[in-house]
Symmetry: D3
Subunit: 256 residues, 6 copies
């Protein structure tokens, strides 16, 4: 169920019976010459809505802008500063508890949000407001991602390309896939991003000229569909697992 399409009286039953919500979060940031800046929030929204439909879980509107200062050198990248992003997500999530929500999945499609969502989740759990965890589609099916692509790239690579080819094909600039690969860094291990154990880079532009990694020409809509179905299935199972937990088992364990 998509919360924003409902009227308030229609939501009464859900809050009476259920306590789980899916909150999609992405980013609006450069994804190379071939993918739209919307890439991450489109993916997050698609997963959250689909899993909501399949499982009958409530899905909220999407938080479209995330923590992306590391892409700022590329035109149009939007971002919220990290402390502000955390506080905004915390506030929105905390307030959901007022209606009876006590467990949340952050359906996330931007790596730069992960640590911040973990920190927010800890805050909300430590004061026993609710239990919120972060989920990213590619983390749920790592073997399949590796199977499908020789060079999957952590940003703007073939896995994200395939996903948009499947979800919103009109937004993929198919004629720029070669450019994406050739102007970026095909093999992330070759990027030299770590020196003597230290990550010495802070921005995407420190590693790659066009902002992306991996071999984008390896992407197809069919692969995107396969990935989507496999990962949605994981998300649905996660919803099922969460539904089955007692609230107290999700809260912090007591001192030894």
């Amino acid at each position: 169920m998509y919360l924003a399409d409902e009227t308030w009286p229609e939501l009464e039953d859900y809050f009476a019976d259920e306590s789980l919500a899916l909150v999609p979060l992405g980013s609006t940031e450069q994804h190379g010459p071939h993918l739209p800046l919307a890439t991450d929030h489109l993916i997050a929204e698609a997963f959250a809505r689909e899993a909501a439909d399949r499982t009958g879980t409530l899905c909220t509107p999407t938080i479209n802008v995330g923590v992306s200062p590391h892409h700022k050198q590329f035109h149009g990248t939007m971002w919220a500063d990290a402390p502000t992003f955390r506080d905004y997500v915390e506030s929105v999530t905390r307030n959901l508890a007022y209606h009876g929500i006590d467990r949340v999945v952050y359906v996330n499609a931007h790596g730069g949000n992960v640590d911040h969502l973990r920190e927010v989740g800890r805050r909300l759990r430590d004061d026993e407001t609710l239990y919120a965890i972060e989920w990213m589609w590619d983390e749920s099916i790592p073997e399949l991602v590796d199977d499908l692509f020789a060079q999957n790239g952590p940003h703007g690579g073939p896995k994200e390309t395939a996903m948009i080819q499947h979800l919103r094909p009109e937004l993929v600039r198919e004629d720029r896939l070669d450019d994406a690969r050739d102007g970026g860094v095909s093999d992330v291990n070759a990027a030299g991003t770590v020196k003597h154990g230290s990550r010495t880079f802070y921005d995407a532009i420190d590693n790659t000229e066009n902002g992306v990694l991996g071999d984008q020409t390896d992407a197809t809509a069919a692969k995107g569909e396969e990935l989507f179905d496999a990962a949605v299935d994981q998300l649905c199972q996660l919803c099922g697992w969460l539904d089955a937990q007692a609230f107290e088992d999700l809260m912090p364990k007591s001192h030894v």
Copy 2:
């Protein structure tokens, strides 16, 4: 131009030539038994996208959740606490300046955001980062609104109903318009919200049982279309006015 659908190289020309952006903001909050919780952010998005299309201005993704604690007693209302909302909007807007944006219109459709957007706008102007102003569609055509409806109601009333009938008719519960009117407060002056000069209420539920005011049965899609066209025209003119200003004329005047 919708920023999120573009790739970063495609945005280069815009930032080279232009410096105005439209940022739509709404809320996700109860709008009575007849309108979806999305009402405000759908309206804001529709205005911003349409004006962007007509004028060639850049439009960002929508901020879907706003300052709505005063609707919290009704199922599903989402909100960010006011200081957090201000900081989030400020951060996102401030970062736009990195790409060369120096003037912003907050295309807003939620009254509860107004003061906060003004405060953010002041912050950004006082340190001369950029010039951001708030615009609400119904404030731009007050006479037309008054002409079309006997009781227009400040929240969930016929003007918002007509707008959704025009923009997203499938989301209006037409069979609940009578309920909306009869279970709410038809004439806002009768709500007794001010005592001896003091607004003694804080929440919508303090005034109205079903969360809405005005006579919703007076709304039609045709009226919605008329309102939409008239207000879009105002917004386009505002874009034109902004485009024509020198940046220094938008900044704070010097001390007398």
Copy 3:
């Protein structure tokens, strides 16, 4: 009763029996060539003290500096930044609850404080510390204000002039009333402060050269007295209404 003139043992009975306090707040900001910068805090203090005397309510000292950055271009205007003002008022009010105060009227005479006092009031009410509301004298007698003046002006106009003529006549520069009118903006509707529905100004100086609006020559001490008496009466009635409420009826209503 004026709190600051009492000794602590003398206050014991009040806190044992009563739970209402009046907190006067104003500003120290330009009020044109004819009125002192103290105008707003003098008015607030006068109302609060008089209503306290008439009703036996406790009145605290006055917060003399408010949120006035929009008058900064004029010599001597003092202000606290908005977030700081809110936190200061919140802290001072919250601490009153330690003595048993559970309802407060912010007797305010500066329009720029209104939204901030509402936000503070919400914070204090939402965590059920106490119930605080904002009151402004001219909002309590709008018809009388309109009756007495053709052009009442929202700032430094005849209504404030008349009030200081009544309360502190020695502080009115009577020989500058013509200048005030002629160098300012007589009819606020002519100020062009709103463009296509958007308030495009941020500072008083954006609209008016000498900082004031309305026709100040229309003011007399007699009108000031009439306004004062009428508005004090409203404030006393508000105190009576507050006294009669049960605390739980002032707190947030529960979820539907």
Copy 4:
């Protein structure tokens, strides 16, 4: 010159020629059974206004509530939490710089404000906004205070009693001076407030039953007048010293 009594055009000359302002700060807190809660802010205001008159310096309105949580157990004590107080004073002072003020004396009469005013002064100096220092009357004439009273007491003692007897005699409860002394702690050294080098108390009530120390019966209005004149003279000399300094000499010295 008292800022709040002036109109903005009248202040033009001062800001053109001068750059010093006096900001009075006190508290609203219990001062025993014999003195009003206003004691500290009345004293601060009297010193600041008198020195302003004598030297032609600008004096702002008084900040009436300070950092007094340590008196909270006594009826009516008002306070701002320390971080909030610092931010408020900082904001108000920082904004004075907009008009050209570059040096400020905090004319303070409450010991509990001292450290906080020093911290604010450091902030303002470290970023070279302006130079603000704290001044307390009794610190400027320590020998005279010791000469006049055998037991001067740090709070609500004879020095403050004498000052109010001089400034506002109608506010001293003369018939409670014996009670003040007998119900409090006459000799501060006997209060046992320090254990093995550690101040183990936090609140006034930890040391004294009625909130005051010293021998109040030793106070007279004549002593108050003598103290007032002597300390005003010190404050005037401080204004003179400040006036004579070059701004750069008041700013932080450079690194060795």
Copy 5:
């Protein structure tokens, strides 16, 4: 050179000639039944001091308490909340710039600090104060770590045990190594910490009863020495690389 052992005149030459500093950071948190709570800060300090000695770099005192709320259920674990830790490290680092330091290595030995140090590093770099990067010893020699231990465990495992056996053998409870392994989780992959792609745990106690992972019986002081020498060498090379960079090359690249 260890900063804290020097006098200020002795440091003059360093700041004149050099601009790099090493800041050791660890934690004070449970490390199972066999290792002291000091483990992480001892390791960090040892690396930083040794590399400082070998390269002539300045080393500051150690920040002994880090972000360890995830170990709180075990006796004695100390921690700072994440936002506070970030601000503290930022403040201390930012202030180093006053003396001329423009590049810093956070010599870190606690995984829970990593993301926070990255965030602080970004803040300091984004405003071009200085360039600070995080380094962890085991990240600099991943192959050696994997070579030496079959189950190296991410916390309290054999790599940390070997390190303390080498650095501070008297602090290792050799008779508890079996307990450490048997009461904890030997193979981290068996801990079930990720469900359907989501890390569903927040605290160490959610995964392991005694707080540690890996096979501690595999540790020896000789292995510790080998690890230490190899990693110190990496850190020294990192210092060399940093020394060789131009400051502008370490700062954010400009917009494309």
Copy 6:
């Protein structure tokens, strides 16, 4: 008992039986040409560890960097900004309460930390988390300090010199004691730090060229030992006093 040398199971008994902890805090700041920057944190640590050993009290690791912006002009001085320092100490202390600690002594050796530790102590006490007080060795034996030295100086003087001569003689530059005295300010009363009752200085360098006061040539290791023994004895007695108090007697008294 030194917390950081223990394993978590070994701490179980302490937390079961006891509730007092010693937290050493100092600074890393210039102490003239003769003493290391570590002076204050070495002293704090020595006192805390010794008292812990003698009384069986738990001692935590040392917070090595404090509030020392007033020494910043001298090479190598490190500091945390005051609000950040307070929050860090508060966070670390507050979290100790999770293990059952309900009383803390801040064993402090830096005057610049005192007010901040008092403020933190108030926060923790006011919400009844725990009772924390600040202790400085020289405040516990003021007569002895005065007896041993003619000019004891408040910073870098003979009392601190003697202490380091006793604790870490290899760190005292004995050949610079004359320089310390001659290049600094021997008699603090001659420093002219107070003008007309106002402390007009903010930084050490405003008063003294080499950063220190007093006659350092008067110091000996024997005097240091005498001071150390006397003050440790005071600290042990303070621990005894704290142990003997009921928790409720350490909490704020109720309203009169």
